[in-house]
Structure formats: structure tokens, C-alpha cells
């Protein structure tokens, strides 16, 4: 695709989309967002990249094969679920750690639930890209 305008626009938008997707991922537990939405948005960034600059560039930018990202995401989500076993809890029982807990605020949460959501993000991200890239390369 030899549109200068689109290519230049993509330079900015792709990063913006990925950044924005991470924002949606992180805040998803409390406001609209989460792994699915984040992953979808993140993938659109690279979809745009592929449309504007071709899949070869997009793959180079991504460095890792999207299928591997997706499968790794599945693995992370699964490990987040299995992690509960170390505490004698059932599969997918959320494990929470609050940093800087104070009387009136729980502090910064780190949880298996977040890791699960990250897994979801990666799965959606990687899966969509592997389909779109492969499809793009067919035409």
C-alpha cells in the first residue's frame, strides 16, 4: 500500500493504539476494558500497520510469530489459574497481593486475575494478527 498519508498516520496511530490497548487492559477490572477489549484494540494497531506497510514490515515490527504470542497467552492464563494450587485453592481462584496497603486504601493490587487478563490480551492480540497477516499474505 503506497499511501504516504496512511503510512505516516500509521506511524503514530499504531503506537497510540497499542498504548491505548494497554491502558484498557490495566483498568479493565474497574472500568470498561479488560483483556478482550485491550487485545482487540492492540491488534487493530498492527492490522493497520499491515494494511499500510505490508505484513512483512508488520511481522518485523512484532518480532515474535503471532501464533506464538497467542499460545503463550493461553499458557499464561492457564498458569494464572493453576497458581491457586499452591495455596490449596480451586482452579482459577484469584490470588491477590496488595502493595502499600493502608487503612483506607487497599493499595496497588497485583493478582493472578490480572495475569489471567494479560493472557487473554495476548491470546486475542496474537490470534487476530495471525489470521489477518496470513490472510493478507494470500492476496
Amino acid at each position: 500500500m503506497n499511501s504516504i498519508i496512511l503510512r505516516v498516520g500509521t506511524q503514530y496511530l499504531c503506537g497510540l493504539l497499542v498504548l491505548f490497548s494497554l491502558y484498557m487492559l490495566i483498568r479493565g477490572h474497574n472500568e470498561p476494558g479488560g483483556g478482550f477489549i485491550g487485545g482487540l484494540i492492540g491488534s487493530t494497531g498492527f492490522v493497520l500497520f499491515a494494511l499500510a506497510c505490508g505484513t512483512a514490515d508488520a511481522r518485523n515490527a512484532l518480532k515474535v510469530m503471532p501464533q506464538n504470542i497467542a499460545m503463550a497467552g493461553l499458557g499464561i492464563a492457564l498458569l494464572a489459574g493453576i497458581f491457586a494450587a499452591f495455596f490449596g485453592d480451586a482452579l482459577f481462584t484469584g490470588q491477590w497481593l496488595f502493595i502499600n496497603e493502608t487503612a483506607d486504601s487497599k493499595g496497588i493490587p497485583i493478582s493472578t486475575v490480572l495475569f489471567f487478563d494479560i493472557g487473554v490480551y495476548l491470546v486475542v492480540f496474537g490470534s487476530i494478527l495471525s489470521i489477518v497477516f496470513a490472510m493478507e499474505e494470500e492476496i
Partner: protein, 499 residues
């Protein structure tokens, strides 16, 4: 306890991830074998627990039923998981030779193990929406496995398979929505409990029929089975083996589960329809097989026919009949998966599965002949092989229930089954090979022989064990049927004593 139930579900996914990330080397396929071996161990452990304690349940995420998702295993679930693990292990060994490196690089092992994960999930879940999710997992991985290879017939068969299954999926999903709209819950035990209080019981029957159609497509019953004969003969042999063995049976399982636990309020209507469906499925399937001339196509149509037997057990809904359905399920998975595996070896040695183009296996591959003979004649219902007992229990149940017509149909279809099995036997094994020398197993490398024949022999041995020593299996099936027909224990266990 909770991990007893969760482990068999988790393992295939773990295996899939590892096998996928290692797909460029030999490690991937061995991950698959090892993972399935561990799965078998875990499922046996589950079975031991279930035999010890009856129904067991675990609340995922620690959220109590009906709020979270419950995994639950009664006899039926447990035995289905065990048999799944056995099939999976057998097929994963077979796949060591059957699946080439290109398919491995495209993710065969991941697809396969996630398929197994979906199957296990479907058997273990106590939550309707979760069942839908596992059905989807199964469905989509079966799509992938089906078309892996990309031959023209695979694509064509794949289109039929995909389109018709998608319709079923949508119907299933809609049914869940409607059921939720009536009961406000997704936990199957909870639905079963609250559905009786719904005022418009006619509506419950309508939704029941929706589920019947949705699962009917999955189970490949008349008149919804088209996708199966259109597709099952096209993929790699290890794939069609696992499809033939497991996939439709999940549909049957779901029918049994739903129409014993949940939709038991209008039996006179629903189960009468099921009985008709059963009879027509048996007959059309077996006739379809009689019209085929390809080993895998014959076997595919027979799947349809035999689904009819299982549905017949459910439809009659007597303890003996349901026990028959359970027994038939178990027997059929072992036998049918094996027959497809054997078809694969036949193709490798004789060059085709088209009966016109092959022959001579009896003379020069006697081991294969024996290994085929056992499941084939088991399928045809000859004693003392497993298929005889399966058929016997069902026919006995029908006669006991004075279902003369269905009993007659079941027997007649058995006869026609003999017809097809002997057709394969006569054409592929007895008849001399139409061109050139008779095929022999020695054409395969020793390694390939090991990979291909060990699983076949193992499954054949199971057929023999069930056949010669059916009592524990029948006893088990009867106990399973008793649990199914009186779901009180199931409901109580799932809901933690709040039945």
C-alpha cells in the same frame, strides 16, 4: 478433591501449549504422548474417586454453586473422561507416524490436545454455558484438524461440516439464553431444580426441543447427520479416529445429560420423539453404509447408525436401557476409533481405502486382519465381543419395555451392520489385491509399525476385555444409569446440599 476434577481438564491445555511452542522439533509430539499418558493417570484417579464417593463436585474459582462454575463427575462423566484419555493416548501414539512434520508445524498437536481438553471439559462441567464453551473448543479444534492437509475433499467436506455445526452451535447458544431467561441460572443442577417451577411447561418442552436439535446435530442423528458422512472420511486417519470415537459421543453425552437431568418433565413427548429419531438414525445410517464402497465412508455412516442405538437407550429411559446407552457409548468409542486407525494402516499398506482398489490383507498381513476382525465383529455385535453386550442390553431393555418395533429395528440394523463389516473384510482382506502383490505390514518401517500397531492392539485388547468380562462394565453402566435416572445425588452434590 477440586484438583481431582480440575487436573484432567487442565492437562490437555498444558500439553497443547508445550507441544505448540515445541512444534518445530520432535519434542512437540512427545509432549503430546506424555501429556496424554498423564491425562490417563489423572482420569483413572478421578474414576477411583468417583467409584469411592459417588458424585463429586468442585467449585472453580472457589465460588460456590450456582454462582461460579462447577465441575462435577458422576459415573457417566468419569467413564467418559477415562475413555477419552485412552483414546487420546492411543491416537497420540499413532500420530507419531501418521502426522507429518508439516502438519506438526501448523500446530497439529495443539489442535489435537485442545480438542481433547474440550471433550474432557464437556464431560466434566456442571454448567450449561460452560458446556457451550467446551463444545466450541471442540468444534473449532475439530475444524482445524479436519482441514489440516488442505486437500480438495477436505475443504469440501469441511464446508459441510463447518456450516451445519455452526447452525447447531447457534441454536445451542440461543437455547441457553432462553433457559437463562426462564430460570435465571446456568448451573445445570440448579436449572433442573428450578425448571419444574416454571409456569409455562409447554415452553420448557419447546426449549428442550431446541436443545434436542442442537445436540442432535452434534450427535449426528437423523435428520441432522449430513455433515458427518460428508466430512469424516477426509482428514488424516488419526484425526478421523478421534472424531469417530469421541466427537459425536459428546453430543450423545449432552443429550443424555440434558434429557435425564434437566428435561425430564415431558418424557411422554420428548422421549417418544427421541425413540423415533433413534430408529430412523439406525436405519438410515446403516443403509448409508451399505451404499458406500470406501472403508472410511462405510465406517462413517456406521457411526450414525450406532448413535441411533445410544439414543434408543436414552429414549426408552428405563434403568436397563440407559445402562445400555452408557455401555454402548464406551464400547463404541473404543471400537470405532480403532477401526479408523486400522483403516489408516490399510491405506498405508494397500494404498487406498477404496474397496475396489485394495485387497489381500488377510493373506499377507494376518496381524492386521486379526486386529481388524476384533473391532469389526464387535461392531457387528458378535459375542463375546463388547458390541454384543452393548446390543444385548439395549435390545433386552426394549423387549422388557415392550418396545417391539424398536427392538426389531435394532436387531435388523445389527444384521445390516454385519453386512458392511463383512464387506470390508471380504474386499480389503480376503479378496486378492487387484493390482500387484498383496500388501504386507513389512512395507512399513519397524518404527512406523510400532507407532501404528501398538495403539490398535491396545484398543483391540480393551474390546476383548470388555467382551469377555462384561460384568464389571455392565454393573458400572447400571450404576451410572441409576445415577442418571435419579439425579438427586447429582443435584445435592453440586449445590452443596441445597437440593
Amino acid at each position: 478433591m477440586t484438583w481431582t476434577l480440575a487436573t484432567p481438564l487442565v492437562l490437555p491445555f498444558l500439553t497443547a501449549v508445550l507441544a505448540f511452542l515445541a512444534r518445530y522439533g520432535a519434542a512437540g509430539r512427545w509432549f503430546s504422548v506424555a501429556g496424554n499418558a498423564v491425562l490417563l493417570a489423572a482420569s483413572i484417579l478421578l474414576m477411583v474417586r468417583v467409584l469411592d464417593q459417588g458424585v463429586i463436585a468442585a467449585q472453580m474459582g472457589g465460588w460456590s454453586a450456582p454462582f461460579g462454575i462447577t465441575l462435577v463427575a458422576d459415573y457417566l462423566s468419569a467413564v467418559m473422561v477415562v475413555i477419552t484419555a485412552i483414546t487420546a493416548l492411543a491416537v497420540s501414539v499413532y500420530a507419531l507416524t501418521d502426522i507429518d512434520a508439516r502438519k506438526e508445524r501448523l500446530g497439529y498437536h495443539a489442535l489435537f490436545n485442545i480438542l481433547i481438553g474440550g471433550v474432557v471439559g464437556a464431560f466434566l462441567t456442571g454448567d450449561l454455558f460452560n458446556l457451550y464453551v467446551w463444545f466450541e473448543v471442540m468444534l473449532i479444534s475439530s475444524f482445524g484438524l479436519l482441514i489440516l492437509g488442505g486437500n480438495k475433499d477436505q475443504i469440501d467436506g469441511g464446508i459441510k461440516y463447518v456450516t451445519l455445526n455452526l447452525i447447531s452451535t447457534i441454536l445451542f447458544l440461543s437455547g441457553i439464553g432462553l433457559l437463562y431467561g426462564m430460570t435465571g441460572t446456568l448451573n445445570m443442577a440448579d436449572i433442573a431444580r428450578t425448571l419444574d417451577t416454571v409456569e409455562n411447561q409447554g415452553l420448557v418442552t419447546v426449549v428442550a426441543m431446541m436443545f434436542m436439535v442442537a445436540f442432535g446435530v452434534k450427535a449426528a442423528v437423523f435428520p441432522l447427520f449430513f455433515w458427518l458422512p460428508a466430512a469424516y472420511h477426509t482428514p488424516a486417519f488419526s484425526v478421523s479416529a478421534v472424531f469417530a470415537g469421541l466427537l459425536t459421543k459428546v453430543g450423545v453425552y449432552a443429550l443424555i445429560r440434558m434429557f435425564t437431568l434437566v428435561f425430564d418433565g415431558d418424557v411422554a413427548f420428548t422421549h417418544q420423539i427421541l425413540l423415533w429419531v433413534a430408529g430412523l438414525t439406525m436405519v438410515t445410517g446403516v443403509l448409508g453404509a451399505a451404499a458406500q464402497n470406501d472403508m472410511r465412508k462405510i465406517l462413517s455412516f456406521h457411526i450414525v447408525s450406532q448413535i441411533g442405538y445410544m439414543i434408543m437407550g436414552l429414549a426408552l429411559l428405563t434403568p436397563l436401557a440407559v445402562a445400555g446407552a452408557v455401555f454402548y457409548l464406551v464400547h463404541h468409542i473404543v471400537v470405532k476409533a480403532n477401526l479408523f486407525l486400522i483403516a489408516g494402516v490399510a491405506e498405508r499398506t494397500a494404498g487406498s481405502t477404496n474397496l475396489d482398489r485394495i485387497g489381500g490383507l488377510y493373506k499377507s498381513a494376518p496381524l492386521l486382519a486379526i486386529l481388524f476382525f476384533i473391532p469389526a465383529f464387535s461392531l457387528a455385535g458378535f459375542p463375546p465381543l463388547s458390541g454384543f453386550w452393548a446390543k444385548y442390553v439395549l435390545v433386552a431393555a426394549a423387549i422388557e419395555d415392550q418396545g417391539w418395533i424398536i427392538a426389531a429395528v435394532a436387531l435388523l440394523v445389527g444384521l445390516l451392520t454385519i453386512f458392511s463389516m463383512t464387506k470390508i473384510w471380504a474386499e480389503a482382506f480376503w479378496k486378492p489385491h487387484p493390482e500387484g502383490a498383496d500388501p504386507a505390514l513389512s512395507q512399513l518401517t519397524p518404527q512406523a509399525r510400532r507407532h501404528l500397531l501398538i495403539p490398535i492392539a491396545g484398543l483391540a485388547a480393551m474390546t476383548l476385555v470388555i467382551g469377555f468380562s462384561p460384568d464389571p462394565f455392565v454393573t458400572f453402566a447400571k450404576d451410572a444409569a441409576a445415577q442418571l435416572l435419579d439425579p438427586t445425588a447429582y443435584i445435592t452434590t453440586v449445590l452443596g446440599g441445597k437440593a
